[in-house]
Symmetry: C2
Subunit: 639 residues, 2 copies
């Protein structure tokens, strides 16, 4: 078994496709981790902005969360419809492109692509951040931990979907189970305590208010809280990965994810309200996450508390996985439409889009390294991409229903229109209130990426036009080619090459470039004896020996100049460069030889024309006898 | 002017060689920096080991330094002879090889090579260490500073010797001038103060003794002090870089370096004694280098003090340069004898051995990064390499004189024999007293490197034997080759390739591999119309269309299996694989195309035989018209 097989699993045939498809049990971890993990930072983000209001801020948690849940449910209804309308994958890119035109599709695609990359970096680094705040001994290894988790996610996803789902199921369901328990226990205690339960563990006092309530502050808190909604488009984008019956299974998965998320968001907001839990300031002494405080208040700081925190950490770290499921599919669709290189459209050994997975891993590794594993500041950047995609997708669905005019289309149209309105409004709120904090970067990068897509497409179109032909086969040119072959010394390698060169033409130029360090004077002496007279004896045309000298110790320039000169002299003939090539039994042995052949080929390709044909004649050397002694004593100088 | 020309200077012809040769003025900075800079850490290293003796330790400074100076002068006399006997470069490698045999030469070469790499890392990091202890604000940028200095040294040396000498002259002569002034002023004040001068600036009190004097302690202090002698072999190794008259100029350079070093070592030791300067503990509060204390005592802490300290810092940082002058020459000699790859023997655009410079820079950058720019702990490792080389070199000279038997040979023999004895004894002292502190690493690495050299040599020998031939030209095989060409679709690229393929043989197999993502169904339809009937009309043999399918979405495996199968079927014919190749006007455009041709070539080279010839037929696409609009609206799917 090769290392690749062990790491990535054996290659799968296209007929094994069905076995790689998934149902809701695997779908919730694979496609829901991103959305569900938002419950861990959405409420905290909103509460942090309410901090200046002191205890008064808690009054606004419930209404803000309620609005977020309403928008979430609108988005849910909207995507439920998209799944049915686009069973082959109705990501925002497809829906916007098919209904609003290519440019809208590309905008949605660019927004999502940026979002997915940010999500990987932010998800992993916030998970590791939570881990190292629990175990400060790990702090110096933050970046290493981030990269290790990234490597784990990458390998799992290269292995394929069904295995990835299995690996992520345990932390996902542990997260849902433990946080669900916290919410239920808290609700029961609230009922028993007539609305005023006593916290099991003591809570830090809320700070005194330093600011009056303002609409701006509440808008900002709402915008921050909306990060809880990122990732909910994942299911609609990935409908094809479900097994049949595809649509109901995908819808059921989406329903589970959204309802669980809504319940968690609502439950956490309610418990914050009744227990009086506010945010503490991150980075200052005594900081604790809101989830930690709520859990401690409802259940106390026993074993269950630690289990809950562990599940939160793992879900945050693994939330990056949703990007791994969706980013490669998005790239595949863009590549299929000609906006990204073909290689993103090719499925690898395990039926996954290897190119997208590798690029996503590389880009997010770049971000993690650039920010030393501390990407929390990137959080404001990525809600905007998600909401831009939501809005375009739902506006597209409105257009879709307008054209469909089927039964129920009117109702569906209204659902999507309300959804589009709500997410569009949210988008404006986020863009304005988070502009200075980084939203401008996203607003700059999205058009830049769209421009890049269009440039790529233009390139492919142009090349396709340039090489397209309906002309038939061209017979080879009547004139034989001119053949040029570089030779440093007469040996089996050059002998082998010259033998092939003589087959091509009777006009063969054997070129020796004399540089200071080549010890090549012998060739002229043996030329008459070994080549000329032998060629005559065999009735072959004699090859010409051409000696070039280089004062600048360069081989390539004089040789290529000679080739180009020949091309100029013979405008109607091909110039074939025969490069003899020594092939060694082991790859590491080639480190000991200059790879002139490879350089020469690259240079000829760049500087030559369509008439410059390159021929490699390999000469394979046999593996050595094992018993050869080391040259402890012996001849000085290379033999 | 290209970027390379600006950075490295225009290429030099071999006829400009003489202008790149140097005299003593440039020779002292280029070849003496390593030796001279040792004055900055040798005395400190000895004094640090005498710390446990308290004030009593100062009594032993003078005798220890005296012994070091005696050994230094013996080495000097010895190398003076070597310069005359080996005017083409009498590095330890050459002298040991020619007189004691190949293995002794390789031992000396390995020891020196390790030494040179360590010297670069240690020199730069100790210079930067002194700098950041003066300017603590730079502390976080230690590694960056180290790498910047390394990059500067690398570029200067790639530019060539004469320019490097000019750049390093100022700090070298500033160092000699300022430290010389300190010593002279101190001596004069001692005379005026009748042996008991008053320090200008107050000195820290010497600690009370915590240990009694022991032979072991004094031996260790001596071994540490011997690091002051590293680098003195540089001149003898580099005799060819001097202009004529070579031998006297090289000797004069060596004399200047050694006498200056001896004077500085003696002067510093004397001033430590009369002023009562001991070492302070590095890394503890109040630490100051011995040079800083001596300068402050003799001159005070004014502007001159700061100038002196600055010159010490720059000389330490630049001392790495001696390695840059010598390491590439050593590699060149090893490569010339077949123990290292050929590329080390090639001189680059500026007549320097580019390969050696780049490898030295890479290895020392690796050490600096690995140790985060703090390589002080490596100091014990590198005196041992230097003394191993000294001893082998002088033992070789003894053998040399024994064979020469000329006039004065007997006297010369004795000088070298005493030198060999002294350095051999010192080597044993260092190896024993520093064994646990890291000398064992050098003692392990030297034989490992020798083994590597021998393996490389064995490889070259074997390949030379395998490819050597005195047989004449082989006429091409009588049978025409079988030609195989991969084609995905019919276009100008494949048209161009097929036209060349038909020239080679009448037996052409056009192979299409159908994978899931290739959209290639059309080829079969057009085949009859565009290729078959046309070939018939032109009187050409019809090429065969071969369709292969791949369930595993792989192009390469089925194609290569087909080629190997053809080779099996036709054991007496060449199999020529024609790879049509789309060449784009800009390099970045090729990122947008899969580079199947390159992969295919690599795989065929590895898996094929000497009969598998590879032909690349390039099709060059023209640069695009600038005005082409972006495809804002248009066809979906790649055209």
């Amino acid at each position: 078994m090769s290392v690749l097989d062990w790491l990535l699993g054996r290659p799968l045939s296209v007929y094994e496709q069905e076995g790689e498809r998934i149902g809701p049990w695997a779908g919730v971890p694979i496609l829901g981790l991103d959305a569900l993990s938002s419950a861990a930072y959405g409420p905290e983000a909103a509460l942090t902005l309410l901090l200046p209001l002191g205890a008064l801020g808690l009054r606004y948690v419930a209404p803000i969360t309620a609005i977020i849940i309403v928008v979430l449910l609108l988005v849910f209804l909207s995507y439920r419809q998209t799944i049915a309308a686009y069973p082959n994958g109705g990501g925002s890119y497809t829906v916007a492109k098919e209904n609003l035109g290519q440019l809208a599709g590309l905008l949605a695609g660019a927004a999502l692509a940026i979002d997915y990359v940010l999500n990987v970096a932010v998800g992993i680094s916030s998970g590791v951040g939570a881990l190292v705040s629990a175990l400060p001994g790990l702090l110096p290894h933050t970046l290493l931990l981030c990269l290790a988790i990234l490597a784990f996610l990458t390998v799992m996803n290269l292995r394929g979907l069904s295995e990835a789902g299995a690996a992520f199921a345990i932390p996902t369901y542990a997260f849902l189970g433990s946080l669900g328990t916290v919410v239920v226990v808290g609700l029961v205690k609230t009922l028993l305590g007539r609305g005023h339960p006593l916290p099991v563990a003591a809570l830090p006092p809320l700070p005194s208010p330093v600011e009056a309530v303002s609409a701006w502050l509440l808008l900002k808190a709402f915008a921050s809280g909306c990060t809880a909604m990122t990732g909910v488009e994942a299911v609609s984008n990935a409908v094809p990965i479900f097994r049949e019956p595809r649509i109901p299974l995908a819808r059921r998965t989406l329903t589970v994810i959204i309802l669980a998320l809504a319940a968690l968001l609502g439950g956490i907001a309610f418990l914050c309200h009744v227990y009086g839990v506010g945010a503490t300031v991150a980075g200052e002494p005594g900081y604790q996450s809101v989830l930690s405080l709520v859990t401690a208040a409802a259940i106390g700081r026993g074993a269950f508390y630690h289990f809950t925190m562990l599940s939160v950490v793992s879900v945050l770290a693994l939330s990056a996985n949703t990007s791994f499921a969706d980013f490669p599919r998005l790239c595949h669709m863009l590549a299929h439409d000609g906006f990204l290189p073909d290689s993103f459209a090719v499925r690898g050994r395990r039926l996954v889009y290897t190119g997208g997975i590798v690029v996503l891993a590389a880009l997010s590794a770049g971000l993690l390294i650039l920010f030393d594993g501390l990407t929390d500041r990137l959080i404001p950047l990525f809600a905007i991409g998600a909401f831009l995609a939501f809005t375009l997708s739902q506006a597209g669905m409105v257009q879709h229903w307008r054209r469909t005019r089927g039964p129920g289309a009117r109702k569906s149209l209204w659902i999507n229109a309300v959804g589009a309105g709500a997410t569009g409004l949210t988008l404006v709120v986020i863009a304005v209130s988070k502009f200075a904090e980084g939203a401008w970067i996203t607003l700059f990068c999205v058009p830049a990426l769209v421009y890049l897509f269009l440039r790529v497409k233009r390139h492919y179109r142009r090349i396709a036009r340039e090489i397209a032909t309906v002309e038939p086969l061209e017979p080879p040119e009547a004139q034989p080619p001119v053949v040029v072959m570089p030779v440093a010394a007469w040996n089996r390698v050059s002998q082998h090459g010259l033998s092939f060169a003589l087959r091509l033409s009777s006009d063969v130029h054997v070129v020796q470039v004399r540089t200071e360090t080549d010890d090549t004077a012998e060739l002229e002496g043996t030329w008459d004896l070994l080549i000329k007279s032998r060629a005559r004896a065999c009735g072959l045309a004699e090859p010409k020996l051409v000696i070039l000298t280089s004062d600048f110790r360069q081989f390539f320039r004089p040789f290529i100049d000679y080739v180009l000169e020949l091309e100029g002299k013979h405008p109607d003939r091909d110039v074939v460069v025969v490069i003899p090539d020594l092939v060694l039994p082991h790859w590491y042995e080639s480190l000991l030889h200059n790879n002139r052949g490879t350089f020469l080929r690259t240079l000829l390709r760049l500087r030559g024309s369509s008439r410059t044909v390159i021929v490699n004649t390999p000469y394979h050397v046999q593996p050595p006898p094992e018993t050869e002694p080391l040259p402890l004593q012996g001849d000085p100088g290379p033999s």
